[in-house]
């Protein structure tokens, strides 16, 4: 059984159809890449999956359960966790404090309000540090998150997501705005997770994730125009068309000099 499936998922913003009857399927422990040019509806698709806003039409099933109308927090509790295109961590908090509520949640402290409200945040220190070690930020645990470099904040955001023990991790352009060194760091981290959890990853540049993902979905104008293993997808003429324009098609039609 697939971990996540959608049927006819559609999102309209006024006259614009951002996501147009998408039938997506993510298998357990697979790594799925979603690629496509700017404005093709990738982020909107992830926003629908994570409950950022409700779909205009269509359904989302997670582990066989209809989650279409569940709130973001309920989806997180089921194991659907996401990161954001622009790094989104709590800049005014210390690095380890960013993790404190997540770690408290994981350790079940969340179930008793009184315990949650009276147990010092410092008691989550060890677990927070553990989560930070996973992304190599343990040395900066006491720093203010807003003072970290953009790449480190990205790592912190991934640490936040991982500390929630996701079954499905949705990453929205995790490499955007990072330097080459930082990209290598994040990629190494993601490779270490591959196969252990299910990962959905949006990327704008195909080359970045082509050797990393198991399967690729290509979106254009709100639709999935092709999917399959990376080598198949990259040779698909439709993909070239949406990325590079209709050059090939035009050439084939006998128009030269384009």
């Amino acid at each position: 059984m697939s971990l996540l499936t959608t049927s006819g998922l559609t999102k309209r913003f006024g006259g614009l159809v951002a996501v147009n009857s998408v039938d997506l399927r993510i298998e357990e422990n697979e790594t799925l890449g979603v690629i496509g040019p700017n404005g093709s509806g990738k982020t909107t698709l992830f926003n629908l999956l994570s409950g950022f806003f409700p779909p205009t039409a269509g359904r989302i099933f997670f582990q066989g359960r209809d989650v279409t109308h569940l709130s973001p927090e309920e989806r997180v509790k089921m194991g659907m966790v996401r990161t954001f295109q622009l790094v989104s961590v709590f800049n005014s908090l210390k690095v380890w404090e960013n993790l404190a509520p997540c770690v408290a949640w994981k350790s079940g402290m969340y179930h008793s309000l009184w315990r949650f409200m009276t147990t010092p945040a410092a008691s989550t220190w060890a677990d927070s540090l553990e989560a930070l070690k996973l992304v190599g930020l343990e040395g900066q645990a006491e720093a203010i998150a807003g003072e970290l470099s953009y790449g480190d904040r990205r790592l912190l955001e991934i640490a936040l997501a991982l500390s929630l023990r996701p079954k499905l991790l949705l990453l929205d352009e995790p490499f955007s705005g990072l330097s080459d060194v930082e990209i290598a760091k994040v990629l190494a981290l993601l490779k270490s997770l591959k196969g252990k959890i299910t990962i959905g990853i949006i990327e704008h540049k195909i080359s970045m994730i082509v050797d990393f993902v198991d399967r690729l979905c290509v979106m254009n104008e709100g639709r999935i125009i092709c999917e399959g293993n990376p080598s198949e997808v990259l040779t698909n003429p439709l993909v070239n068309e949406c990325y590079w324009g209709k050059q090939e098609t035009l050439e084939r039609a006998g128009v030269s000099g384009v």
Partner: protein, 347 residues
């Protein structure tokens, strides 16, 4: 001569850093130390202000502390916080008139009533974001004022207020200013300790997270509406406690306890001391009360100074007085650290 002054300055600086170091650490012994420190500050105030006024200061601090939880920690500004102070005060007044002769029971009833009012109003208002939240609470505060002044006039006494007859019961004697002072001081310390525990817990961190980015917190699996409601109720409950104490301190309840305009004073005190810091709320409460109690003696248009102070805070000292002290401390501590490491190197 110059050396002596310099040395004195150094000693002051060192004491300041040492005290700051103590306050930034956590632990049971340290919490006791903090409580003693706060108690001492209020005891110092007594000879200058008299027990009655010092009690008033302490009650105001309780109210500012409760507001700080909502505004300073969770980042939700409300212009209707005095509603709960009023509910607490009127419940005490009415309970002592019609239900019981025991002021302690009346206080408990006042707290419960404010808690229930907070639950009801909070369930509606915490769903609202931004400025509308502040105004929706203001509207409820107005409703409370209206109820007291008009439909419930016969039992609340309307504009004339309500005098409380049963102020002493058993060993509990609220007629005695010294008793009132100690009782309120103990209450303040209790509230402070409670809020200290809450704000330094994971829940406290969650509140600060909600302040920064509520939507993001939802994507961490937290039902933020629920936690906002809990915090709102908690703030209302503590404010109700403050209101109950106000009623007993004056032996009298009047509609001013839930005057919507007085909400600005709480916001001001919170900003002045430094919002999002319990010590800031305490300091702000005391200084605001000093300003409003003492300045009118010397200046007719004393509000002018409040305005200037507010402008200074907004433009220059966003962390308020306590925030400024914190910045000073971290600067001095860093200097002390680099100084000692230099010494270590030269050895």
């Amino acid at each position: 001569m110059g050396n002596v002054v310099k040395e004195r300055g150094l000693v002051l600086e060192k004491t300041f850093v040492a005290v700051g170091k103590q306050l930034t650490q956590a632990g049971v012994g340290q919490k006791v130390l903090e409580l003693i420190l706060i108690g001492v500050v209020f005891l110092i105030l007594v000879p200058f202000l008299g027990a009655h006024r010092a009690t008033d200061f302490a009650i105001f601090c309780i109210i500012v502390l409760s507001f700080d939880l909502l505004y300073g920690y969770m980042g939700r500004l409300s212009f209707g916080h005095l509603l709960y102070v009023g509910v607490g005060a009127y419940t005490v007044g009415l309970a002592l008139r019609y239900l019981t002769t025991n002021p302690l029971l009346a206080i408990v009833l006042g707290i419960v009533a404010a808690c229930l009012a907070g639950m009801a109003v909070g369930a509606i208002t915490v769903r609202i974001a931004g400025a509308a939240f502040a105004l929706a609470n203001l509207a409820f505060n107005r409703v409370g004022w209206f109820l007291v002044m008009s439909p419930l006039k016969d039992i609340t006494g309307g504009e004339n207020g309500l005098s409380i007859r049963n102020l002493s019961f058993w060993y509990v004697n609220f007629r005695n200013p010294t008793f009132r002072f100690w009782f309120v001081l103990a209450s303040l310390l209790l509230v402070f300790l409670l809020l200290r525990v809450f704000t330094s817990s994971s829940y406290g961190v969650l509140l600060r997270s909600i302040k920064e980015d509520e939507k993001r917190v939802r994507f961490l699996g937290y039902n933020t509406q629920f936690y906002k409601w809990v915090t709102f109720v908690l703030a209302a409950t503590v404010a109700g406690f403050g209101g109950a104490l106000t009623a007993l301190n004056y032996g009298y309840v009047n509609p001013n306890t839930l005057d919507v305009h007085a909400n600005a004073g709480i916001v001001f005190a919170c900003l002045l001391g430094g919002s999002g810091r319990l010590y800031g709320a305490l300091l702000g409460g005391i200084i605001y009360m000093l300003i409003t109690n003492l300045l009118p003696v010397y200046f007719q248009r004393w509000e002018f100074f409040l305005g200037v102070a507010l402008l200074l805070i907004v433009f220059r000292f966003r962390g308020g007085i306590w925030g400024g002290l914190e910045a000073l401390y971290s600067g001095l501590a860093a200097r002390a650290k680099s100084g000692s490491s230099k010494e270590g190197m030269s050895r």
